[in-house]
């Protein structure tokens, strides 16, 4: 039985963000920007979409007068990512 892929996670930046966040306990914006090689504006938009879907939570604070954004994956996000990965594996077997 093949389920449709989660459209939110087919975007490369969002998928990369989710991949990092499932591995770590918390991650800051600058690291996500570096690893996704995206612009600040684009990454902000993608993070907002993930947060609006309840996949991640975003915490903003100030450190030495500089704004700091930290992201965490939620339980809903972990479940969605796991399902997406399982489905990808199933589709990959068919592709082969």
């Amino acid at each position: 039985m093949f389920e449709p892929l989660d459209k939110l996670l087919t975007n490369p930046i969002r998928l990369m963000v989710m991949s990092v966040l499932v591995k770590v306990s918390s991650c800051d914006f600058n690291y996500l920007k570096k690893i996704t090689e995206s612009t600040q504006g684009n990454l902000s938009v993608q993070l907002k979409k993930l947060a609006e879907s309840g996949y991640i939570s975003i915490a903003k604070s100030f450190e030495n007068n500089y704004p700091k954004t930290k992201c965490n994956v939620t339980k809903k996000g972990i479940l969605a990512f796991e399902n997406h990965f399982k489905n990808l594996k199933k589709y990959q077997n068919i592709d082969l």
Binding site: T10, P12, S19, V24, S25, C27, Y31, I35, Y91
Partner: protein, 189 residues
């Protein structure tokens, strides 16, 4: 993006986000050296360290507390530079945080009991080192943890042994040497 490309992208992101063990090893090196040197100083100049009733207590609390502050500041700075905290990293932070509280509690308890806390502290340190070693899967640290627990047992079975020398040996071989080998290794979790 096709399915294989998506899987590759996931693998790539996960592989790039590794536990950074080098900064962790600096903590072991620092504490191993500090406690070993302090033990040797106390052993070599007992008349200086035990000059008054509280001088020894101050020596063994003030310097480690300064060391603790230095370690906390260093770890916060490194954490900010790395940009993420792994689940193992968070677990280690909590375990060592609990150790710090337990260490201070043991020292305070020993003052009331008028008893040397080295044996209890070494046992606790050995257990925490073993937990850390098993979490990061690093054999030299497992050996170091066992060595520290063994030193604690040694104090129990032979009370005549010099506690300061045992303390110096335990922290040197249990913290400094494994810390140095962790620093020099290319291992990452």
């Amino acid at each position: 993006m096709n399915h294989s490309e998506q899987i590759n992208l996931i693998n790539d992101a996960i592989n790039k986000t590794k536990e950074q063990l080098k900064p962790t090893s600096v903590n072991f090196i620092f504490w191993g050296l500090l406690i070993s040197i302090m033990s040797i100083i106390h052993y070599s100049f007992p008349e200086l360290i035990q000059k008054t009733a509280y001088s020894s207590l101050l020596f063994w609390t003030l310097i480690p507390v300064v060391g603790m502050i230095f370690t906390i500041v260093y770890n916060i700075k490194i954490g900010g530079r790395i940009g993420y905290e792994t689940h193992i990293g968070r677990a280690l932070k909590l375990v060592w945080g609990v150790f710090n509280i337990a260490w201070i509690t043991l020292v305070i308890m020993s003052v009331f009991k008028k008893q040397n806390p080295v044996q209890e502290i070494l046992f606790l340190l050995g257990v925490i080192l073993l937990i850390t070693a098993l979490l990061i899967r690093f054999t030299p640290l497992i050996i170091g943890g066992i060595a520290v627990v063994a030193c604690s047992v040694l104090i129990t079975i032979s009370p005549s042994i010099n506690v300061l020398l045992i303390n110096a040996a335990a922290t040197f071989f249990g913290l400094f040497i494994p810390g140095l080998s962790l620093y020099l290794s290319k291992n990452n979790v």
